[in-house]
């Protein structure tokens, strides 16, 4: 037996190294959360109540009918039973006492260790108590066999004394079974208590960073013993489970494996099929863009990991649902699967990022050799951490002693320290002009020194006995480092997206270009925004992650974020980012609503009520001012700016108004008056000083006037209010127009007047009321001057009307022989001059630069209307 034991021990000792690498995730997380000690306590407490409960309701299958007599008859009959009963009762009391002491000594590791020894002793006693009843049980069984089975239906009845004895024996057998059942429950409770103590001690070890552990030969030897024991227990339970599963659940086991393999295959093939466009060009592109490299890295990491995850999840699911798993094996299998997926993922990710084989796909700029070398420590660290976590979980489910956790953490810290130190020796750096094949340069001094120092410090701390601290630091270094590297890649992504023209190359960019017909500039702007967004996301996601990793609680981070958003205090000033954002949001909302109301009132109500265009404009502008003002006020108060403090600003402003802002304010107020009083409106033809033209827009500070030459003149509103403004189209568009006609004294004035009136009356656009009239205005030196005054409905059309009337006058006078209706030199007429066409000098009052305009002026001077 001994030799066999040694052989197994030798075999298993090989796995000791593997088993003791430890403490990883579990340690870190327990260390990171100081609030946890209550959990182990919870685990310890249950043993107190259940013993009482199990006493009352024994679950053991006592033979039917024996229950009532058991206690009196059977117990009296057998002193062994009575003795065992007494022992159990005592053990139960002892167990309760121990549970109370454990509860009280939650923080005291030494006392807990002592208590654990006592509980283990108690477990042995409980088993011994039940072993004591074994001979009696054998006797009973032998006697029952001698007595034989009770007679059946048709057989002759046996002697009463035999029936009596059998009955008694059966009762006693039941009592023994009941007692053993009680012992069984008690033993389970005591084992629970023992495991609870171990869990508490393990948590104490993990949570107490500065606990000094003696790293000595004795401790190591204890660790080896424990490791061998645990390995044996593990292999035994796995072996028995495998044997059981293979012998009795072969079909479910195999079909579960088959189905999960199918699922993995489906994921793998489906993934590659689905995302082949992202993966295809791998070999064609010589210089893929950074974004392309990223998507390649992403998909080539994700697809295999997903299929492995599918395999792991589905095999656990099927094994579980086919009832192949046993409660003690289930967690071990689950953890093993999860760990393999995690290690695979990390390795795969590192492989995609470093891409040791294809330098063109490398996401970080390191040399070929450097990339290959870097893969080794990364894989090693992932493996060490994974194994550590795996073994920690297995140890927990097996209830391994604390010394194992210590030893595992010790070994893991030293290995990680060595890996860190070895990383300092790698030479991956490249200058910007060097090719990837270059041998590479060492890390910058800071990085390599910190690697060396961290590794040495880890080993030193572990060796000096602060194993918990060393393990904690090791985990932090690895996890924080991994997060930082991922963050760095995220930032690189943001940078590459915001680079000029990079966004247009991406799938989203191409889609946007196709779908929305975006220009290059717009795409670039979107790319910039996307890059900034990625930066923000990276920072917002990873910084809380690092903080969480360092042991800050989510509640802490939430409250910080909340405070940063709501209340930044600088001296006595409090700035609230949320408030400012809300203010901006409210203002934007108010602005949009204002514009909408403006459009609605203008387009629906006023357009249907045939309101004049100018009025519509005034109302619209007014609504715009009011709405924007209201939105501004709401925004200000939403931003948390006290409106009463604006009084101060207003005071300062009024001083400013007194000096520099005077003009602007006066223009603004004038603009408001213009809108309210409406001396003119948009579209009116106004004259102010030397400026004449159509009003195009009335805005806050100035009014835009478009002259007949289409020159826009911005006239300050205050000028329009303070100076006199002529408006041709104020109340209506009725206008009077004059045409001067000169004839020689040879003509008959009455006839001329008559003719002119006839001509005016004949024109359709000349109003009948007020009727056109003709005035004899001047006795000239040679000629008389008449003036035909006509009224037109639309003063803008007056030019055309005048034109028509002049033509008619000329033709009519020529026909009537009245003579030219315009001044002519008649005193010294030479034959040559007579032959020339008459000079065009008819309207003495009209300087004519605007004659070619679309709209003509009816007269030059306006008389009173």
């Amino acid at each position: 037996m001994h030799s066999v034991g040694k052989l197994t021990a030798l075999l298993i000792a090989g796995s000791f190294g593997v088993l003791t690498l430890g403490g990883g995730f579990a340690t870190a997380q327990q260390t990171a959360q100081p609030a946890q000690p209550s959990q182990p306590a919870r685990q310890v407490r249950p043993p107190q109540q259940p013993p009482a409960a199990t006493q009352g309701t024994p679950t053991q299958p006592a033979p039917p009918g024996a229950a009532t007599e058991t206690d009196d008859g059977a117990a009296a009959a057998s002193p062994a039973l009575q003795q065992a009963e007494d022992q159990l009762a005592q053990a139960e009391r002892e167990l309760n006492r121990l549970a109370e002491r454990v509860d009280a000594a939650k923080e005291d590791d030494t006392l807990l260790a002592e208590l654990k020894v006592q509980v283990d002793e108690l477990s042995k006693q409980i088993i011994a108590a039940s072993v004591g009843t074994r001979p009696r049980l054998d006797e009973i069984k032998a006697r029952l066999t001698e007595l034989g089975d009770p007679p059946g239906e048709g057989q002759p009845p046996e002697a009463a004394i035999i029936t009596e004895e059998r009955k008694r024996l059966l009762a006693e057998r039941g009592a023994i079974n009941a007692l053993t059942g009680r012992a069984e429950n008690l033993s389970v409770e005591s084992r629970k208590l023992a495991n609870g103590i171990t869990a508490t001690r393990r948590a104490l070890f993990s949570n107490t960073l500065l606990k000094h552990t003696d790293v000595s030969a004795a401790m190591l030897s204890e660790a080896v013993t424990a490791t061998v024991d645990e390995a044996r227990a593990l292999s035994r339970s796995i072996g028995s489970w495998l044997a059981f599963a293979w012998n009795y659940k072969r079909v479910p086991l195999l079909s579960a494996l088959f189905l999960s393999l199918c699922a993995a295959f489906l994921f793998l093939v489906g993934g590659y099929r689905l995302f082949s466009p992202f993966l295809r060009h791998q070999d064609e592109e010589e210089e893929p863009t950074y974004f392309r490299q990223l998507s390649l890295a992403f998909w080539s990491t994700l697809i295999p990991t997903m299929s492995l995850t599918a395999f792991a999840a589905s095999s656990y699911f099927f094994l579980n649902s086919f009832n192949v798993l046993r409660p003690d094996i289930g967690p071990i299998i689950a953890i093993t699967l999860a760990m393999s997926v995690a290690v695979f993922f990390v390795t795969r990710l590192a492989n995609s990022v470093l891409s040791p084989k294809r330098s063109s796909l490398r996401l970080v700029r390191v040399s070929d050799r450097g990339a290959r070398m870097l893969m080794v420590p990364i894989f090693a660290m992932a493996l060490v951490n994974g194994l550590d976590y795996l073994l920690g979980s297995i140890g927990e489910s097996l209830g391994s002693p604390v010394v194992l956790t210590v030893a595992r953490s010790f070994l893991a810290s030293i290995i990680i320290g060595l890996i860190l130190m070895s990383m300092a020796l790698i030479r991956p750096m490249l200058r910007t002009d060097e090719p990837f094949e270059a041998p590479g340069r060492p890390w910058p001094r800071v990085i390599s020194l910190s690697f060396l120092l961290m590794g040495a410090a880890l080993i030193a701390i572990a060796l000096s006995g602060y194993v918990g601290l060393a393990r904690f630091i090791a985990t932090q270094i690895i996890v924080t480092g991994a997060i930082l590297v991922t963050m760095y890649i995220g930032l690189l992504t943001g940078k590459s997206v915001s680079k000029q023209g990079a966004f247009a190359e991406t799938a989203a960019g191409r889609y946007a270009e196709r779908r929305f017909n975006l220009e290059q500039v717009a795409l670039d702007q979107i790319g910039l925004a996307a890059g900034l967004g990625i930066y923000a996301l990276v920072v917002l996601f990873f910084i809380p992650l690092i903080l969480l990793q360092w042991g800050f609680q989510i509640a802490d981070i939430e409250s910080w974020a909340y405070r940063i958003l709501t209340e930044i205090r600088i001296g006595t000033i409090t700035i609230s980012l949320v408030g400012i954002l809300a203010g901006v949001l409210f203002f934007a909302l108010g602005y949009v609503v204002t514009r909408w109301v403006q459009r609605w009132i203008d387009g629906n109500i006023m357009a249907r009520s045939r309101v004049d265009a100018g009025v519509r404009n005034s109302i619209r502008t007014g609504i715009g001012y009011v709405g924007v003002g209201l939105a501004g006020l709401i925004g200000l108060s939403a931003a948390g700016i006290d409106l009463s403090s604006l009084a101060l600003v207003a005071g300062a402003l009024s001083l400013g108004v007194g000096f520099g802002l005077q003009n602007i304010v006066s223009n603004f107020v004038s603009g408001l008056i213009l809108l309210v009083e409406r001396p003119f409106k948009v579209g009116d033809w106004i004259v102010s000083g030397t400026t004449e033209g159509f009003v195009r827009r009335i805005s806050v500070r100035a009014t835009e006037i478009e002259t007949f030459q289409h020159q826009s003149i911005m006239m300050p509103n205050s000028l329009l209010i303070n100076a006199s403004v002529g408006n041709w189209t104020h109340r209506n568009k009725l206008g009077r127009s004059e045409i001067a006609v000169t004839v020689t004294y040879a003509s008959e004035p009455r006839r001329v007047i008559e003719l002119l009136q006839e001509i005016a009356a004949a024109h359709p656009m000349v109003l009948k009321n007020p009727a056109p009239n003709v005035g004899f205005t001047t006795f000239g030196d040679e000629r008389m001057t008449f003036e035909l005054r006509i009224y037109v409905a639309d003063v803008l059309k007056a030019g055309d009307v005048r034109n028509d009337i002049r033509v008619s006058i000329y033709e009519r006078f020529r026909d009537e022989g009245i003579g030219a209706p315009f001044p002519m030199k008649i005193e010294d007429v030479t034959p040559e001059e007579e032959a020339e066409p008459p000079s065009i000098e008819d309207e003495k009052v009209e300087p004519q630069p605007e004659q070619d305009e679309a709209v003509e002026r009816p007269i030059s001077r306006r008389r009173s209307r």
């Binding site: 037996m1 001994h2 034991g5 040694k6 197994t8 021990a9 030798l10 298993i12 000792a13 053991q60 299958p61 033979p63 477990s123 042995k124 409980i126 088993i127 011994a128 108590a129 039940s130 072993v131 009843t133 074994r134 049980l137 054998d138 069984k141 057998r173 079974n177 053993t180 059942g181 012992a183 069984e184 033993s187 389970v188 084992r191 629970k192 495991n195 030969a217 004795a218 190591l220 030897s221 204890e222 660790a223 080896v224 013993t225 490791t227 061998v228 024991d229 044996r232 227990a233 035994r236 028995s240 044997a243 059981f244 012998n247 009795y248 046993r326 409660p327 003690d328 209830g399």
Partner: protein, 87 residues
């Protein structure tokens, strides 16, 4: 370093001493034992004629016949007619 090796060796020696209970099924058919060891309760199947090692640190076994026995971990037991016989 020497102490470390010595400790490792001692550990292995000590681990080698540990034993377990041996169960042999003498029945014609497979026996399913319910073994309560530590905190867990598990079913343990032993094929006809097979010998298995169970519970090195003590346990309770419920035989197919319904009888329960406590084991200290160093016994040799047999299953005869569905009931447990401790040798």
């Amino acid at each position: 370093m020497r102490t470390v090796f010595a400790a490792l060796f001692c550990g292995m020696l000590m681990a080698g001493v540990a034993d377990a209970a041996t169960v042999t099924n003498r029945d014609e058919k497979t026996a399913v034992l319910v073994i309560v060891e530590g905190e867990s309760r598990m079913e343990f199947a032993i094929a006809s004629g097979a010998t298995e090692m169970i519970c090195p640190s003590g346990c309770f076994v419920t035989a197919p016949s319904g009888d329960r026995v406590g084991l200290q971990g160093d016994e040799t037991i047999e299953i005869v007619n569905g009931s447990v016989v401790v040798k």
